[in-house]
């Protein structure tokens, strides 16, 4: 069972019920559970949707799945009238390396996700929500399934929820191993029983989504934030965070730190502080070499670049991304060559294979870096890797291609010298390792 950590700088909104047994519905109710959805319903059928959306807009909440799109705005894109049923889809596919925040959320507060799903449903006029968990999270799926069943048993889900006259159902769903299925349109394909290949956009999910109906898709953490926001008010929530980045978020700090774990910090919290104070600094007193700030897709930061606020805008300005909030810390012992190879291996393995640049680009960068790491590199390889990555950027069918290219470019640009030295050092040498082979999905 994942260990819980805490730090005085934390601002516990989402995590306030963690460790208190709130997976149990009665406990959840004790801790203000299902109050937000009732508060929304109390606004009356006319005002409810607008009130929810306005509150969400005021909260400044931005999507926690990675892209940071303003949630209230996203919900407002769903057309009021629609011939086809509308859906809420909760993205619990959490597969970005370095990210395990939804894991604890499902474990400790599954009802918050359920309540959030109901709220999103009320906001857009949907009667059916899906909570999709990655296949590896089977034990969490059971927790969520039980929570859903308990909510049905109490009459919170199903017909006429909280006397509103509105019906709302939730179906839980599991994936079966595919990072790309976290991409919103690929997730819909998967949920429709197909290969997890993304869809052509536009149309966007808010207009044509699951089963062709308008669909709101959000990350599980985004969704779980909604009840808290409705209870505390949008402005109050917004104030917790930084400019244009409302509230708090669950940051996962992993790698070479003394106290790895999930910490709920206000948006805009200083990255350096997060590493050195919240997570207890670099493990075993070593020196910091680099930080991958928001999951493996984000370009790496050098030690001198980490004095920056953890929000979407400040990280963007720093040339990287806030991403999924998974901060991975690398100490001085890490070989960037090996690290870069491991990162691209992941994207190669997870590329859905649909489009040429991603399918072939990840494959050939991986092959090249593998050879370099094994000691067979030449300097030109660094240029080749950069060329390949540059030609993937912005040209792939979905953002996975970018997600593979961006960190790769970060590594070869910021650590070019290390690559050169590595190649130089291993010129005549025998391969340092036998490289694990992940070719193919199977």
């Amino acid at each position: 069972m994942p260990t819980l950590v805490s730090h005085p700088d934390e601002v516990k909104v989402l995590s306030r019920r963690f460790g208190q047994g709130a997976a149990d519905i009665d406990k959840y109710l004790e801790l203000d559970g299902y109050k937000a959805v009732q508060k929304a319903i109390a606004q009356g059928p006319e005002n409810m949707a607008a009130w929810i959306i306005d509150t969400m807009k005021a909260s400044g909440l931005r999507g926690r799945g990675g892209a940071g799109f303003p949630t209230g705005l996203k919900w407002s894109f769903v057309p009021k009238q629609s011939d086809k049923p509308k859906y809420v889809l909760v993205n619990g596919d959490e597969s970005e390396p370095g990210t395990c925040k939804d894991h604890v959320l499902f474990l400790h507060d599954p009802h918050a996700v359920i309540e959030g799903t109901m709220i999103a449903g009320l906001a857009i006029g949907s009667k059916l929500g899906f909570i999709y968990l990655r296949g590896e999270y089977r034990y969490l799926l059971k927790i969520v399934e039980k929570a859903v069943a308990d909510a049905y048993a109490k009459g919170f889900l199903g017909k006429n929820i909280f006397g509103s006259g509105i019906d709302f159902d939730i179906i839980t769903q599991t994936g079966a191993g595919a990072y790309e299925v976290g991409e919103e349109s690929a997730l819909m394909e998967s949920l429709e029983g197909k290969r997890g290949v993304p869809r052509i956009k536009p149309p966007f999910p808010a207009v044509v989504g699951l089963y062709g109906g308008p669909t709101v898709i959000n990350n599980a953490e985004t969704i779980a934030s909604a009840p808290h926001i409705l209870l505390m008010g949008g402005e109050a929530y917004a104030k917790l965070g930084s400019e244009r980045n409302g509230g708090t978020r669950l940051f996962g700090i992993s790698g070479h730190v003394e106290r790895p774990g999930i910490y709920e910090l206000p948006m805009g919290y200083n990255l350096k502080k997060a590493i050195y104070e919240v997570a207890g600094g670099i493990k075993d007193g070593k020196k910091l070499k680099a930080v991958v700030p928001g999951g493996s897709s984000c370009p790496v930061l050098l030690p001198e670049e980490i004095d920056v606020g953890l929000d979407f805008d400040q990280m963007g300005k720093a040339g990287t991304m806030l991403g999924s909030g998974g901060i991975v810390v690398l100490d001085e012992t890490v070989s960037i060559v090996e690290f870069a190879m491991r990162v691209i291996s992941f994207y190669q393995h997870e590329s859905c294979g649909w489009c040429i640049p991603c399918r072939e680009g990840t494959d050939w960068i991986k092959k090249t870096l593998t050879r370099v790491y094994a000691g067979g590199g030449v300097k030109k390889d660094i240029d080749s890797v950069q060329y390949l990555a540059e030609n993937m950027m912005g040209r792939t069918f979905c953002p996975l291609g970018d997600a593979a290219a961006m960190p790769t470019l970060g590594f070869v640009k910021k650590f070019r010298k290390e690559f050169e030295d590595y190649i130089e050092g291993h010129k005549a040498g025998t391969p340092v390792i036998t490289v694990q082979d992940l070719v193919g999905a199977h």
Partner: protein
């Protein structure tokens, strides 16, 4: 009675499948979970599984194969009773994921995707399993094991070998 006469699944699973295909706006939505649940029971996605699931949903077998081959957790060959999946992705790698993998290889005497001769264990190197903050981590079937050390791995494997390990399904 199951919808499918002569089902290859247990009565419980067959009943679950009968229900599962009805809950979605589209029958086909049940495909991915069904494949996974079928694998959990049969051990892998066999030809017979493909045939029955295609029949239950009303798909071509080709369709089932197209989908099945996309997802990395689905396999068409039997694995060990306990499938040991060691994460070596970045957070785990930084905290010794490869040592854990190597340790498992040595301990079990098999490599990536190998199965021990007695069929008790199989080993797989996997991508990030969402346990980065408790790295290094692995899953045995669906059960998570975190903050691993080689000694801890030995203990865990031993518990499974003795048939006392948790088997989340």
């Amino acid at each position: 009675m199951s919808e499918v006469a002569n089902t290859i699944f247990s009565p419980e699973l067959a009943a679950r499948f009968d229900h599962l295909v009805t809950i979605y706006p589209m029958r086909r939505s049940a495909l991915v979970p069904m494949l996974l649940y079928a694998q959990d029971e049969i051990g892998y996605v066999s030809e017979a599984v493909i045939t029955e699931i295609a029949q239950r949903i009303g798909l071509l077998e080709l369709d089932v194969r197209n989908v099945l081959s996309y997802y990395s957790m689905l396999r068409t060959k039997p694995a060990g009773k306990y499938n040991v999946q060691v994460c070596t992705n970045i957070s785990c790698m930084l905290r010794g994921g490869y040592e854990i993998l190597d340790h498992c290889k040595a301990k079990l005497g098999i490599g990536h995707k190998g199965v021990t001769p007695d069929g008790v264990f199989s080993l797989e190197e996997v991508e990030c399993i969402g346990a980065c903050c408790w790295a290094p981590a692995m899953q045995v079937n669906y059960d998570f094991h975190e903050n691993l050390t080689p000694a801890k791995v030995d203990e865990i494997l031993e518990t499974y070998r003795n048939g006392q390990g948790k088997d989340v399904k």
